[in-house]
């Protein structure tokens, strides 16, 4: 090989082809998925992603919780995701369209959190989640720095943690979650993909690729690809914040 220009062009082509194939290709296929309108419930799914949850996702991201928790249920029969109660169907791309930074994760040191709000017994009440975060349990480290121990002024705060045993604060003090903890818990309690009738989620074993053409059964066609998802009729989901900056505010 002697020709430098040819080498350069080859390098460019190698990167360009994989970029076009993987990034552009999948972007064209499912980069602008729209919500699915379900005539039965007169609702569009997935539901919106409230601002407080988007703030909580930033906390989740900056603590890098994704280094131990995934948020993607694998298809049924592939692993024991269903048997562990993490979800009743495979997660599909449409579940995440309103999330500014989907945290799929790469490691299951801890359980999957895709349907944490609906599937986990801990999530029955916010108090349980706060306590788990404060104390840590079963291999999860405590995140006590997300809480403050403050002197009780007047009556006990309604947010205060009710702890037992040696974890109780000194008399006259209470442990209350910081705004970051509140946002994180609001986010965790929003994690649920309960709608099971997406056309792409129905295939029992081998799902057809997401982003396939609109449902043809006349149930209500999603807007054309490329268009911003129009708020569907009925329970209009709150649109996701446009940028991470807005979410931070």
């Amino acid at each position: 090989m002697k020709n430098g220009a040819l080498l350069f062009l080859g390098l460019f082509a190698a990167l360009g082809v994989s970029w076009a194939g993987i990034v552009l290709g999948s972007s064209a296929q499912f980069g602008s998925l729209s919500p699915y309108y379900d005539a039965g419930t007169d609702q569009a799914y997935p539901g919106g992603f409230p601002g407080v949850a988007a703030r909580g996702q930033l906390v989740y991201r900056d603590l890098n919780c994704a280094s131990c928790h995934t948020q993607a249920v694998r298809r049924l029969g592939f692993g024991a995701d269903e048997a562990r109660g993490w979800g009743t169907r495979q997660s599909v791309a449409r579940d995440y369209i309103f999330q500014p930074f989907p945290q799929l994760g790469e490691s299951r040191v801890g359980p999957d959190l895709t349907n944490f709000a609906t599937a986990s017994p801990i999530a029955a009440a916010p108090a349980g989640v706060y306590e788990l975060l404060y104390t840590g349990r079963g291999g999860m480290p405590p995140y006590a720095f997300l809480f403050e121990t403050t002197k009780i002024v007047g009556e006990v705060s309604s947010h205060a943690l009710h702890l037992a045993g040696g974890l109780q604060p000194p008399a006259g003090y209470e442990i209350i979650p910081t705004p970051r903890a509140e946002a994180l818990v609001a986010y965790l309690l929003s994690l649920s993909s309960s709608f099971n009738d997406y056309p792409e989620a129905k295939a029992p074993v081998e799902p057809k690729p997401e982003g396939s053409p609109a449902p043809t059964d006349g149930k209500g066609a999603p807007p054309a690809a490329g268009a911003k998802p129009a708020p569907p009729a009925g329970g209009a989901p709150i649109p996701a914040p446009a940028t991470p900056e807005e979410a931070k505010k």
Binding site: M1, K2, G4, F8, L11, A13, A14, L15, S18, W19, G21, I22, V23, S26, S27, Q29, F30, G31, L33, R61, D62, L63, N64, C65, A66, S67, C68, A72, R74, G79, A80, Q90, S91, A93, R94, D95, Y96, I97, P100, F101, P102, Q103, L104, E106, S107, R108, G110, G136, G138, G139, M140, P141, Y143, A144, F145, P207, P209, E210, G211, P244
Partner: protein
């Protein structure tokens, strides 16, 4: 193509290296510091896996953040600095001209390292992106891009201004690494950080970037060094060298398509992981050719060659394991477990870093004109690295298989899984400690070898000046 004569006399003159010595030592010196710092963070992250409360009270060092710190130090601190230093050195030597644009290299190296320091500060203060291998905060990334360009300029000029038209395998791989990294990084920055794409498309782009980082940047850097040093250190020409170009183009064109194997069963179209499985298998062709070419590293008793031997076995073995775990039935067990970590350590540490270390041990005496200060430490480092990586990969691999089996059995609760894999994670932490010790030895040896001669010369010159001044005053 089989002519390797340019690997000998005309390019070996000391003049070629005299100009590049300072900048290259700066890059190499920063790399060994980052290697030790990264090892420190990796040890903390490892301990946190079996003692979850370790440093839990320190908000700066949650497990996720420490992992991001370790990865950033290792990939962008150690690999980038060492890879660039060796790539520039090889391109200048092969070009037969002194390194040009050395000022740019120095400035670029300073800003690159400043960028990494800022990135670490950003990660501990909560600005990390949580994207694997791209955890650095958005704000410092453009700085890194520009700094990389400034460093790489010298290499590109050495390549375009080479005396002889012919190019060698080291040329292809080194030039590929120099050009492809900034393109990859800029695309990832734009599509993930500045104008994030929507939904799980982010995971697809992140997977493409992480795989591209490996197949289009780290592996080419390591192979550039291996293809240059092995024939020289072993004193043999490379067998089946005619096939080397096929191996090169196979890596470049097929490698970046293998990223989707991490998304098997995930919320993305199935073709992305299917194509990754096909590409992973096709890539075995590349590993076969690299093995054919570089197998001459066996036999000769030389420290740099020992590093390359280990690196070659890890590279080819890791490639085979990658293609096996890309198969859906295997991924069902290994996905989301410590087995992924074992594969990453085998690739990043066992393959690339061992080759870069071999290159460093080979290049430094030629850059400074002196042998390594402590021969014993070199040997100790070889033992600690080879032993440490082997134990680390085995421990994490077994932990991953146990964990994967348990995860797929819904009757095993999480605390029980943690108890099952705990002994293996303890072993992995011990291996991390051995690696850290080895890398501290390298840093000590490097600074003693690289800086002390200049320090001694400077002291002697000052003394001489003082003596002449005193003599002048006495007269």
């Amino acid at each position: 193509m089989t002519d390797l004569s340019a690997h000998s006399s005309p390019t070996d003159s000391g003049d070629v290296e005299a100009y590049g010595r300072g900048p290259l030592l700066l890059l190499a010196g920063s790399s060994v510091v980052w290697l030790a710092v990264g090892g420190f963070f990796a040890l903390i992250a490892g301990i946190q896996l079996h003692h979850s409360a370790f440093l839990a009270g320190c908000p700066l060092l949650t497990h996720g953040r420490v992992q991001a710190l370790a990865e950033t130090c290792f990939v962008y601190g150690w690999m980038a600095n060492a890879g660039l230093a060796l790539a520039l050195w090889i391109l200048a030597r092969l070009g037969g001209e002194p390194l040009r644009a050395a000022n740019w290299t120095v400035a670029g190296a300073c800003f690159w390292n400043l960028g990494i320091v800022l990135a670490l500060v950003g990660i501990v203060s909560g600005e990390a992106t949580a994207i694997p291998l791209l955890e650095m905060p958005r704000a410092v990334q453009p700085l890194l891009l520009v700094a990389y360009g400034a460093v790489a300029l010298g290499g590109v000029l050495a390549w375009t201004g080479r005396r002889r038209e012919v190019m060698y395998a080291s040329h292809w791989y080194a030039v590929a690494a120099l050009f492809l990294f900034p393109w990859l990084l800029s695309i990832a920055q734009v599509t993930l950080l500045w104008f994030p794409v929507r939904g799980t498309l982010q995971a697809v782009v992140a997977g493409w970037y992480a795989q591209g980082l490996w197949t289009l940047w780290m592996a080419p850097m390591a192979l550039a060094v291996a293809y240059y040093v092995i024939p020289k250190a072993a004193g043999k020409i490379l067998p089946s060298y005619d096939f080397a170009s096929l191996g090169f183009w196979c890596l470049l064109f097929v490698g970046a398509w293998t990223g989707g194997r991490h998304l098997i069963g995930g919320p993305v179209p199935a073709w992305i992981s299917t194509i990754a499985i096909v590409a992973s298998t096709t890539l075995l062709f590349h590993y076969g050719i690299v093995w054919l070419n570089l197998r001459v590293s066996g036999g000769a008793p030389s420290i740099p060659l020992s590093f390359f031997r280990y690196g070659l076995c890890a590279y080819v073995g890791g490639g085979i394991i990658d293609s096996l775990t890309a198969i859906r039935g295997v991924a069902e067990v290994t996905q989301f477990t410590h087995f992924d970590g074992a594969q990453q350590e085998l690739a990043f540490y066992g393959a690339v870093s061992m080759m870069l270390l071999g290159g460093l041990y080979y290049a430094l005496p030629r850059l400074t004109g002196r042998p390594w200060a402590y021969g014993g430490l070199v040997r100790a480092h070889l033992l600690l690295s080879a032993g440490g990586v082997s134990v680390l990969v085995l421990a994490l691999g077994v932990a991953g298989l146990v964990q994967g089996g348990d995860l797929n059995n819904a009757s095993v609760p999480f605390p029980e899984i943690a108890a099952h894999i705990r002994p293996w994670l303890l072993l992995a932490s011990a291996a991390q400690a051995a690696l850290l010790l080895g890398n501290v030895l390298l840093a000590v040896n490097f600074f003693k070898s690289a800086l002390c001669p200049y320090y001694a010369a400077a002291v002697a010159a000052i003394r001489q000046d003082q003596r002449s001044a005193l003599e002048a005053a006495a007269r």
